[in-house]
């Protein structure tokens, strides 16, 4: 088969990438990825941070973020530095009976962490436990004991723990086992539980994937991808995609010759388009209580993570529809990046209403009377004034509303997002009518956290938050940030503003219009933040992990 033409190179490449997207064991991953590991952009960033020099490395990420591949990279790095590396598959340990699982962990300790071995000046061991949250559930005391050995044999024993962010078992690992292990303070700092949880919970929002503690590091791979989840970062994401393609090419072929240029050319032509499509995926909320956002590849959905991008790349060579979409998206992006425009609060409202049906679980209720979601007549005290006002008054004011159908823990419930704004007149003064309207909503009990109704108030700039306090009134000021959520538009970049303008006017090629709507929900929402920099609207509109 030697000397085959370019299409067969593509076929080889596509097959390699496709196989990579399947479920692979650590051994298989190790064999498939032997070359150019330093060139992988995700690994390069982790290496640069110094996280790998820490004694304990905790790796978190949603399904498909590349935890096991990262373990493979860490093995490569450590072996180069004369460490022994032992991989433990936590899922296998978790299948054992609890007493057997405990024995297995004790066995690992006696085999690799014995005093005799540690006396050897050249002996250095790194143990990586994949899917460690499952192990923690049945043998947390043994795990704590292993963690304690990290301190006892500092410099000679390195522990790497990888866990899935969306697993319910991960939180007990982070909030109980790690911080309550002996020497937790010397590894994670004075308040280990707070340090670990704060770092994990805020990493995605702050787009900070690596947290370094005294003797430990926490790597949230989803946060790496969140740093690229922005229309303004599309150039960076496109470069990451090219680098990943190169990384695959180097591992898929025995030699990197000119024949592969065809693959690179094709990618280069649509790299921004691919990035655009990757951004049209929806991150998910993994824990309702803590609002933890993760990247997650489930089923046919797109995802902005290692697995999601691998799927996009392989489909580009197999699916003509996707190829067409990538080309259209590329063209759209090239046009969009030079547009300068300003938008107003109404346009954001309109774009959200247009985009939400694309999610499959949100319904726009445009210009609907409030009485369609709450029985206003029950809340209003009967009075002469009301009787005079007539039937129209009983229905209350109208608003644009988004109904969100939430499925969580086997239960289905409805959440309502009521949209309003503090408009400014051409001279820059806030319109008193919009202030009054918000006051009326609050009086009528429209926002109610416990009944899952949230009043979103779009504000042109964060400075104008004072007008919201005025509108809401002294008695209800504590509700700002709870069920009255200000969203400041001054955080939006030029390209995002231009994007909003075009999505609103629907002057986007029909091939990518649906992707554009998904991008609004999956990416734009994360840049619509409140006065404290929190993406509170995204918390309400993103889907939960099924």
């Amino acid at each position: 088969m030697r000397g085959m033409s370019a299409p067969s190179n593509i076929a080889v490449f596509r097959r390699f990438v496709e196989e990579t997207t399947g479920r692979l064991s650590f051994g298989q991953i190790e064999r498939r990825f032997e070359k150019a590991l330093d060139e992988n952009p995700v690994f390069a960033e982790i290496n640069k941070s110094g996280a790998l020099n820490k004694n304990i490395i905790v790796i978190l990420g949603g399904r498909g973020c590349g935890k096991t591949l990262l373990l493979r990279y860490i093995k490569y790095k450590l072996i180069n530095e004369n460490w022994q590396f032992e991989y433990v598959n936590g899922a296998d340990v978790a299948k054992l009976r609890p007493d057997e699982a405990k024995k297995r962990l004790e066995g690992i300790m006696s085999k690799y962490l014995s005093e005799d071995l540690m006396k050897d000046p050249n002996y250095r061991i790194a143990i990586a436990i994949d899917d460690v949250a499952e192990v923690n559930e049945i043998a947390s005391e043994q795990l704590k004991n292993i963690i304690a050995h990290v301190k006892i044999y500092e410099g000679k024993f390195k522990l790497i723990l990888a866990a899935q962010s969306e697993s319910q078992r991960t939180m007990p690992l982070l909030s109980n086992t790690l911080p309550l292990s002996p020497f937790a303070e010397t590894l994670f700092g004075e308040k280990p539980e707070q340090a670990i949880l704060d770092s994990f919970k805020s990493s995605y929002i702050k787009r900070k994937s690596i947290s370094l503690f005294r003797g430990a590091a926490l790597i949230n791979l989803d946060a790496y991808w969140s740093s690229l989840r922005s229309l303004s970062k599309i150039e960076d994401l496109a470069e990451v995609i090219v680098k990943i393609v190169n990384f695959y090419i180097k591992n898929a072929f025995t030699d990197y010759n000119d024949g592969k240029a065809e693959i690179i050319d094709k990618i280069n032509k649509v790299k921004h388009g691919l990035a655009f499509l990757a951004l049209s995926s929806l991150p998910k909320i993994s824990s309702q209580a803590d609002n933890i956002i993760i990247e997650y590849k489930g089923g046919e959905d797109r995802a902005l993570n290692g697995l999601g991008i691998a799927e996009l790349i392989s489909k580009l060579f197999a699916d003509s529809e996707l190829e067409l979409q990538a080309e259209e998206a590329e063209e759209f992006y090239r046009f969009l990046k030079d547009v300068k425009t300003d938008i107003n609060v109404n346009e954001v409202e309109e774009v959200l209403l247009k985009a939400c049906p694309e999610s499959g679980y949100m319904t726009p209720l445009k210009d609907s009377p409030i009485s369609s979601i709450i029985p206003v007549q029950i809340l209003q005290q009967p009075s002469q004034q009301q009787a005079k006002a007539g039937a129209g008054r009983k229905r209350g004011p109208k608003a644009n509303i988004i109904e969100v159908r939430i499925r969580s823990g086997g239960l289905e419930s409805l959440r309502y997002i009521i949209m309003s704004s503090l408009r400014t007149d051409p001279r820059g003064y806030v319109a008193s009518e919009s202030v009054k309207r918000i006051g009326e909503f609050v009086k009528l009990g429209v926002p109610a956290e416990s009944e899952q109704r949230f009043l979103i108030v779009f504000i042109p700039t964060c400075e104008e938050i004072k007008n919201l306090y005025k509108a809401v009134g002294y008695d209800h000021r504590k509700r700002i940030g709870r069920d009255i959520l200000p969203i400041c538009l001054d955080g939006l970049s030029d390209i995002e503003k231009a994007f909003i303008r075009f999505v609103k006017s629907e002057t986007i090629h029909p091939t990518i219009l649906r992707s554009a709507y998904k991008l609004v929900i999956g990416t734009l929402l994360l840049n619509l933040r409140d006065n404290f920099g929190m993406p509170s609207l995204a918390y309400l509109m993103l889907p939960y992990v099924a």
Binding site: P179, K191, E193, I378, L379, G445, A448, E449, S450
Partner: protein, 463 residues
């Protein structure tokens, strides 16, 4: 005697029927959707003080529950009378049921946030409001099955049906419901305890009367009987009941009175008049706290304790209100379940204020755990709580033994105060960290008290 007072007295059997109270609560928690709203509102309550009485869910519930009650109880009450009474009291009872459930859920959430307490102080059932609905349903069904079945018999039948193990398991939930739903009756009982606590001249009357009567030929002195009847009379006065209706009072406080495993004859009045702990401790806590806060008049109103709060300390004040009401329930439950004595969050707050006052510590101060436990024992002794506890527990009441036993339990209550965001009490170490505060097990041996932070939160309880 004014007409207004007269009209308050009498056997108000529909108003004080604990099964009707139970039905108000049962209907509220029987819908899963409503329960979800309540759980979320409980979180809002402990964080902002808003109890959610402006919510649509509450308004709809308030409108619906009345017809549910009438339908359920028309088999045992005259329907017209029932409709009339429920239209009068329905809104108020619905409001109380709402407050019962919100504050119950808030207290569960506080305990789980604190990472301590629930397992040690209260049974697992306390955290399962879902299971409560079926128990309440059984009680209601048992009561409405047939006209004329006495309330104590209904309780006995239900206990028999579910087994005696159920008694301590369910007790804290039923006590809480009973205390709040029948709050005006309990406020009368708290008034009675206040009188007993003050050891006033009124209590001396029995002796004087017996002396006077001894001048009459043939009179056989019986001081014990005289005392008991006089206490009953005082209780009737405080509870605004005519003397002959004392057993109606028993029905109103059914769960508090009959749901006690340690009492041999809970239907009798003697133990309740002299040896009751739960409501007695609540009365003592309220009056003690208010005396240190400098209140001119005592406020024994349970509804106020659980009313919506406002102001900057609304969140912690709401949490503290729940902890104060929970404290006597903790105390009673631990006696019922394990014959032991515990220190409650209210004990700690009282002790902290007592120390501040006795040593004229107007500003911040540091105090050792041992000193606080000693102060609590002193307070129990002075307020007669200790003597009552001795009757029901196997704990050695020798101060040294009790101090070492109580110190460990002190930590759980302290965790509830500190971890639920009640500021002003901070752990610190002066010599060596003998104790460890859950859930992180931070070491400490003393408390750093910042009265300036604590007092506004405490004052906020009664705003």
């Amino acid at each position: 005697m004014s007409g207004e007072v007269k009209s308050r007295r009498g056997a108000e059997y529909i108003i004080t029927d604990p099964f009707i109270d139970a039905a108000f609560v049962k209907y509220l928690i029987s819908s899963q959707d409503r329960l979800e709203v309540l759980k979320r509102q409980a979180r809002v309550y402990s964080e902002t003080g808003d109890i959610g009485e402006g919510l649509t869910t509450f308004h709809i519930y308030k409108n619906e529950v009345k017809s549910y009650i009438i339908n359920k109880f028309k088999s045992i009450y005259n329907e017209r009378m029932l409709e009339k009474e429920i239209s009068k009291i329905g809104d108020e009872k619905a409001k109380r049921a709402w407050r019962v459930v919100i504050t119950l859920l808030a207290s569960q959430q506080l305990m789980s946030r604190a990472g301590a307490g629930a397992g040690e102080f209260l049974p697992k059932e306390y955290g399962r409001l879902e299971n409560l609905a079926s128990i309440l349903d059984t009680l209601i069904e048992e009561k409405t099955r047939q006209r004329g079945v006495g309330a104590p018999n209904v309780v006995k039948n239900v206990i028999k049906k579910y087994g005696r193990e159920l008694v301590p398991e369910l007790a804290p939930l039923l006590w809480w419901i009973n205390l709040v739903m029948e709050s005006e009756v309990f406020e009368g009982i708290l008034k009675y305890h206040f009188l007993v606590l003050k050891k006033s001249q009124a209590l001396e009357f029995a002796k004087i009367a017996e002396v006077e009567l001894s001048e009459i030929e043939g009179h056989k002195a019986d001081l014990e009987y005289m005392e008991q009847e006089m206490l009953k009379g005082l209780l009737s006065r405080c509870a605004e009941l005519r003397g002959q209706y004392i057993n109606k009072l028993q029905t109103a406080i059914l769960f508090i009175k009959l749901w006690r495993r340690r009492i041999k004859n809970p239907e009798g009045w003697e133990w309740f008049l002299k040896n009751e702990i739960l409501t007695y401790a609540l009365s003592v806590y309220l009056t003690e706290l208010q005396s240190y806060l400098g209140f001119e008049k005592r406020k024994l109103n349970i509804s106020t304790l659980l009313s919506p709060k406002s102001g900057i300390y609304a969140g912690p004040s709401s949490a503290l209100s729940s902890l104060i009401l929970l404290s006597p329930i903790f105390m009673q439950y631990v006696i019922e379940a394990s014959n032991k004595v515990i220190i409650t969050p209210a004990d700690i707050i009282v002790a902290v204020l007592r120390i501040a006052k006795s040593s004229m510590k107007a500003e911040d101060y540091v105090i050792g755990v041992r000193n606080i436990v000693e102060e609590i024992l002193k307070f129990w002794h002075e307020s007669n709580i200790l003597q009552r506890l001795k009757l029901y527990t196997q704990s050695e009441m020798d101060p040294k033994a009790i101090i070492s036993e109580l110190e460990n339990r002190f930590v759980t209550s302290l965790a509830l105060i500190i971890n639920t965001g009640i500021r002003g009490i901070i752990i610190t170490t002066r010599e060596r960290p003998e104790f460890h505060l859950p859930p992180r097990m931070d070491g400490f041996d003393s408390l750093y008290i910042r009265t300036e932070q604590l007092l506004p939160i405490l004052n906020g309880v009664w705003v």
